[in-house]
């Protein structure tokens, strides 16, 4: 398989990476197979359209309400967590969050860390940062473990190793796991990972995890998972550090069940995961196990800027289920790595340009056919298509005072001059007649292959003018006023 571009290393070139992925039959086959399966499983659980609409309206309302009261709910979450004995840390940037995590680990002399899945930690490139500072941070979700073992990044936010097939994983385990016999048997491969990781859980100085939902009224961190590695990471080591974005909070505990119902069904086609963990404090008085300390790191990383715009704020409703990518015709064909971003697929196309800027990421909102499948399956009704269009506009014609990072970066003077000329031609009957006469008479000329026009015709057939314009034909037939 071709080497995948890794976010943060190498130049960002979406066109090149997408073209490379499209040319790789292995990627095409692995994603097609996986996405077809995930779509079918989800559809089976939302078979009743009335129930789906009602549940989705409820989920969207819960998330929108939480965002409407975000600063109050964050303060309340902090207050309740502290009352429960959970220590709360705030970080504006991923650099600050990394420093906060390292400070906690150093204070405990922790050098061996086991991790449950966390997309925020991927945003932080936390494993690399900790490795540079002498801390071993081992991913324990099976998919994340596979990806880390091969020095890759996740290609899907729920199924990190979905770009690999069984044979590729069998080869990887055979090469990288000490004493491993080559096998393609999935149960045997799973048992191999279990053997390696159980020892790591037992020895770990600290465990880390993400947060699926944080509940303000109770100071509770909710974590859903199937493998048990999340529970291992959060309950076996003496120290637990949880990472969350500022948008993850909801107001009430009763908000959690409907959100989880939407999350589990949308993500993996399950009505409930194997484990639903409610963590509301460290080891209590008299308890014999559980971490002695629980820390919560709350990360902004551009989210408060997204929050500033009432339309773009809907981006923050996302509960990270991945349904938008599973249903995206672009993602299904190019896979996750081609986006060169932590969040691939439709949610990444609206989120990444807002956090990283439109200068380097202006191609992402363009990488869509606007078919709207993502918005249709989004369990919290994020209007993804509208937001894609908004970001396209922001790239070329920013609204005054636009909060979008690097808005207007795609503005091209030649393009503006071309449209100004077009406007003049279409506003003047004399010029319009002249132009259509010119176009119809010179129709034998090959379409120009210069600059931006070449880019246009490279993937589209160039239009060929008719022999005579409609006006001319009408005049010839004696239509008045033609």
């Amino acid at each position: 398989m071709a080497a995948e571009p890794v976010p943060g290393s190498g130049p960002l070139d979406f066109h090149a990476s997408a073209a490379a992925a499209l040319a790789d039959p292995q990627i095409r086959a692995n994603f097609r197979r996986a996405m077809d399966g995930l779509m079918a499983k989800r559809a089976a659980l939302f078979a009743d359209p009335a129930e789906w609409q009602a549940l989705r309206a409820l989920g969207a309302a819960i998330r929108a309400h939480a965002l409407d009261h975000l600063p109050e709910l964050l303060v309340r979450l902090e207050e309740r967590c502290r009352a429960n004995g959970i220590q709360v840390h705030w970080a504006e940037s991923t650099g600050d969050a990394n420093a906060a995590v390292l400070a906690i680990l150093r204070a405990h002399g922790a050098t061996r860390v086991v991790k449950g899945k966390s997309m925020v930690s991927e945003e932080m490139h936390l494993n690399d940062y900790l490795a540079e500072h002498g801390v071993e941070s081992l991913e324990s979700d099976l998919g994340e473990y596979v990806v880390q073992l091969d020095h890759e990044t996740p290609s899907h936010i729920i199924m990190p190793a979905i770009h690999k097939n069984g044979r590729q994983i069998a080869r990887l385990f055979g090469e990288k796991i000490r004493g491993a016999q080559y096998t393609e048997d999935v149960d045997a491969l799973t048992a191999m990972a279990r053997r390696v990781l159980r020892q790591k859980f037992e020895e770990a100085d600290a465990g880390m995890s993400g947060v699926n939902v944080a509940v303000a009224e109770t100071g509770t961190l909710v974590l859903v998972e199937n493998e048990g590695n999340g529970r291992m990471s959060t309950h076996v080591p003496p120290l637990h550090i949880a990472l969350m974005g500022i948008e993850k909070v909801v107001e009430r505990l009763a908000d959690v069940p409907p959100l989880l119902a939407l999350l589990c069904r949308s993500a993996t086609g399950q009505t409930i995961t194997t484990y639903t963990n409610l963590i509301s404090g460290p080891r209590g008085a008299g308890e014999l196990d559980g971490p002695h300390e629980v820390h919560l790191v709350i990360l902004d990383n551009g989210r408060s800027r997204i929050f500033a715009d009432p339309e773009l704020r809907a981006t923050l409703r996302c509960i990270r289920c991945g349904a938008c990518m599973n249903h995206c015709p672009v993602y299904t064909r190019i896979g996750g790595h081609a986006y060169q971003a932590v969040y691939p697929g439709p949610i990444g196309k609206i989120l990444i340009p807002q956090t990283e800027g439109l200068k380097t990421r202006r191609e992402l909102p363009q990488a869509s056919s606007l078919c709207g499948a993502c918005a249709e399956v989004c369990p919290v009704a994020i209007p993804i298509t509208e937001l894609l269009l908004r970001l396209r506009r922001e790239a070329a014609h920013p609204e005054p005072g636009s909060p979008v990072l690097q808005a207007g970066e795609a503005r091209a003077p030649w393009e503006e001059r071309a449209w100004a000329a077009w406007r003049r031609v279409f506003a003047s009957p004399r010029l319009y007649r002249l132009a259509s006469r010119l176009a119809t008479r010179c129709r034998w000329l090959p379409p120009p292959r210069l600059g931006p026009l070449a880019a246009w015709t490279r993937v589209r057939s160039a239009p060929r003018p008719a022999r005579r314009s409609l006006h001319e034909l009408a005049r010839r037939r004696g239509v008045p006023d033609a």
Partner: protein
């Protein structure tokens, strides 16, 4: 680390200021200067901290999910068996022997229960003959028994608060008497369930348990043995947590 604490306190203020300023601007007011919190003009006051009005949401879709008591167990069992949970039917008097017979037949040599668990006494009495499996009590901090917990305990047994009919699943609430790792580290996890204690939905359960007022440090729902589909979407069981989950049905509970 005083410097770290200062950085974090500054970050907290700046993040919250940005969020508040954005909302004030939206309400048609100039954002307040950073670091100050003047009272917002009347009529547009954001809700006072910590007491946002309840979300105007229609929960009818959740409330509609109810099943007659007689159907709840069948539904829970169907959902959980679909993800490979196993069921053992027993009685209030006979469950300790049933559990021991089941484990012995499967070759288990050790069974762990919480020292403060209501299950410990009946299990000890049933095992007085010295036959396998040997009962081991979780009776000291995990730091002192981690090694044996990870290597020599074949099965762990716990109670639960009840089940969930809609999706399948058991609500566990670890405590000093029944530590957290009993339901996680041993390869077999057995749970006693009183079939009369099955809620319709998780939504109903969290409301009736009153957890919004006082929540335990750790509570969880378990719906089956540990599983993964991370390799080619092929389902494999027993990846990190228990390989088998045995639900022991005891009408009337353990007593």
């Amino acid at each position: 680390m005083p410097e770290q604490a200062e950085t974090e306190a500054g970050a907290r203020e700046r993040i919250l200021d940005r969020l508040r300023a954005a909302r004030a601007a939206e309400a048609g007011h100039a954002p307040p200067p950073a670091g100050h919190a003047p009272p917002p003009p009347a009529g547009h006051a954001p809700p006072p901290g910590g007491h946002a009005p309840p979300a105007p949401v229609d929960t009818a879709v959740l409330a509609a999910k109810t099943w007659p008591p007689a159907e709840r167990l069948a539904r829970l069992r169907r959902c959980m068996e679909a993800v490979k949970a196993e069921f053992l039917e027993a009685t209030a008097a006979g469950w300790p022997a049933a559990v021991r017979d089941f484990l012995r037949a499967g070759g288990a040599r050790t069974l762990m229960a919480g020292a403060g668990s209501p299950l410990a006494g009946p299990l000890a009495a049933a095992g007085a003959d010295g036959a396998a499996p040997a009962l081991v009590l979780y009776d000291r901090p995990v730091e002192e028994l981690k090694a044996s917990l990870f290597s020599t305990i074949d099965a762990g047994i716990t109670t639960c608060l009840g089940g969930i009919a809609e999706t399948g699943g058991l609500i566990l609430c670890p405590s000093p008497g029944e530590p957290r790792l009993l339901s996680l580290v041993p390869p077999i996890h057995l749970v006693l369930l009183d079939p009369a204690r099955i809620w319709d939905t998780l939504w109903q359960a969290v409301r009736e348990l009153g957890w919004s007022k006082a929540i335990p440090a750790n509570a969880l729902v378990i719906s089956g043995p540990s599983k993964t589909a991370d390799i080619e979407q092929t389902l494999a069981y027993g990846v990190h947590g228990p390989k088998r989950l045995i639900v022991v049905l005891v009408p009337g509970g353990a007593g």
